[in-house]
Symmetry: C2
Subunit: 337 residues, 2 copies
DNA sequence: CGAAGCTTGTAAAACGTTTTACATCGATCC
DNA sequence: GGATCGATGTAAAACGTTTTACAAGCTTCG
């Protein structure tokens, strides 16, 4: 690993290091002649900027940290990818923080802004990863943070998400309109705001339709295929049999459909299944999955843009960004005869 | 954002900054009394180390960069997750480099070691992201790098992968043993060594079984469900009809199975399908997917460990690590009557 | 022609640590 | 009792940039 610095360029070009720095970073600050000279010298000795040193001086690391419960969740890829794209275009790199749902890991990753390894945080969690009471709420003491998909409850950070309440309503209404009334629900982690709101949406839609929901048909689970599998098993042990299952994520729905097949139920003939997210695989399933699609690319782009603006000192015009979801009717739901 | 440094601790504890640094990082270097005093002072003023400054001084960034073609590939999650785990345990963070297959992006991410933002590279690509000829091959000029799942062809970097040739053989042999002889293949990107070797394995196994393979039944594709879908469409346009399809990834297999259903083929009754990877969803598909499983957690753990050892100056005992794959027979393949 | 103003270059400080080399002090040893 | 040694503390240099403040030279203008 070579160790050429601007000092070496300076020596080779016969100028001071200040001039080198100016030539490299502030092209207008030096004459065209010296700029060329410096650039040539830099090229010849194979100079590469030490970003660590530059960051120390400018106190801007060029990194943002994305805190997510699980990289292995298909729903988040699209978001991460979009974040990465925006970040890259604006000269930032993405530090990945997979927390496996641990609050401690969330805090560790968030601390990277305090230790200057990151300039901002994109947080996909319902918990704040630091004590906001300690620092009192003055925004200049807090790191730039955008809350995505979930909501911490603090109205000082921008949020980007779909309207989960409405998503819950739309999914439920779709089932109701198909004639279903015995509807089961498999939620994600009930600590998350997304699950809370979707459940609320479910209850609202049932009430609006004049239907009673059956508390025993609501299984509180986690956002994973495995959970969908076991939760469905639990559901099928009951006396009351649902005619439709509302899964709070497509991964849950995958597990659910698998379990249904194991118990020899046909989808959608015996039981309809609807998911949320529209992960890329949803349409490839057999039967293809009816779901409430989230605009993942949009979500990622929006929250990255807001965060980077925030880092640049530009406050967001709007605090809460609600993006449009969309009901995608495929083959896994059908009208009850 | 507060700006407390060791200078402030020093002032408060009534010692020099050198003592503070020693108390914090080299516990044995100072007396127990002063150490406690310093720690207390640090705690009181809410000190947080500026890792940027420390990194500059020690020239160790504490980051590793993982260069992958696509975050959204289910096969890589497990690997990334394992890498993250090991890295975290050893005090490193993971910078995610999603290249979308672009050689330029690979180079950009790899350059982070030269700009001191990362200490090492885990590379999932068949291309080297820098000119190795320029620096001539002296290993001290090259950044620590571990090649995972693919192979650049340079025998100076450790590699971690399964035996793709054998994987291709095993998958093919499974089909042959079930009585199939008209076997189609949908490959991944043929630039990748994984696809090249699996194809070679396919041909070897066919030859070993005394079978001719049909060149028209080999579709050169990409590692994605979408490609699996279109490639299968292409296959089904031909006069010759395969009785089995060997997909070089489970994602390809998903698309393939979808396309088969669209064309009213039953799996496995009409056509058997086998994949590679054993992504978490493989068993949830309908029918559940027969596949050659990769030990993703093992792969991730191994390559992260080797890389971090390499960074610590410990050369690997072995250059090429071959991990065990495993044939998982499920419902998507069946014996030809 | 002298003042004012622009252009271009530079010396030096600064960012916040770690680490080296040295100083001091008391204990130990012969 | 002087030399030696270990323990503990510190001053200062170093990491490689960016940026500030200033200097020198040149142009412009009344």
């Amino acid at each position: 690993m070579s160790k050429v610095g601007i000092k070496d360029i300076a020596a080779r070009a016969g100028v001071s290091i200040a001039t080198v720095s100016h030539a490299l970073r502030k092209p207008g600050r030096v004459s065209e002649a010296t700029r060329k000279k410096v650039l040539a010298a830099a090229d010849e000795i194979g100079y590469m900027r030490n970003n660590l040193a530059a960051s120390l001086r400018t106190s801007r690391s060029g990194n943002i940290v994305v805190i997510i419960p699980d990289v292995a969740d298909n729903h988040v890829y699209g978001i991460i990818k979009a974040i990465e794209k925006v970040a890259h275009r604006r000269g930032y790199s993405v530090l990945l923080g997979d927390t496996q749902g641990s609050a401690e890991r969330e805090r560790e990753f968030a601390a990277m802004t305090r230790s200057r390894q990151a300039d901002g945080i994109i947080l996909m969690s319902h918990r704040l990863p630091f004590d906001v009471t300690k620092n009192d709420l003055s925004p200049d003491k807090l790191p730039p943070l955008v809350n995505v998909c979930e909501f911490t409850g603090y109205d000082i950070f921008p949020t980007v998400a779909i309207d989960d309440l409405q998503a819950g309503i739309d999914a439920t209404r779709h089932l109701v309109e198909l004639g279903h009334s015995e509807i089961a629900v498999i939620t994600g982690d009930m600590e998350t705001t997304s699950s809370q709101k979707r459940l609320q949406g479910f209850k609202t839609a049932m009430a609006d339709a004049g239907l009673q929901y059956n508390e025993r048909l609501i299984v509180r689970g986690k956002y994973s295929a495995r959970c969908g599998e076991t939760a469905t098993g639990t559901l099928l042990m009951q006396k009351e049999r649902p005619t439709a299952i509302f899964c709070f994520s497509d991964e849950i729905a995958m597990g659910c459909m698998y379990a249904l097949r194991q118990h020899n139920f046909e989808i959608p003939n015996d039981i309809s299944v609807i998911g949320v997210d529209n992960i890329p695989f949803a349409r490839y399933l057999a039967p293809s999955l009816t779901t409430v699609g989230q605009p993942t690319a949009d979500i990622g782009t929006t929250c990255a843009t807001i965060l980077l603006d925030l880092i640049d000192g530009k406050p967001p015009e709007m605090l809460h960004h609600v993006l449009q979801h969309e009901l995608l009717v495929r083959q896994s739901t059908r009208r009850l005869q």
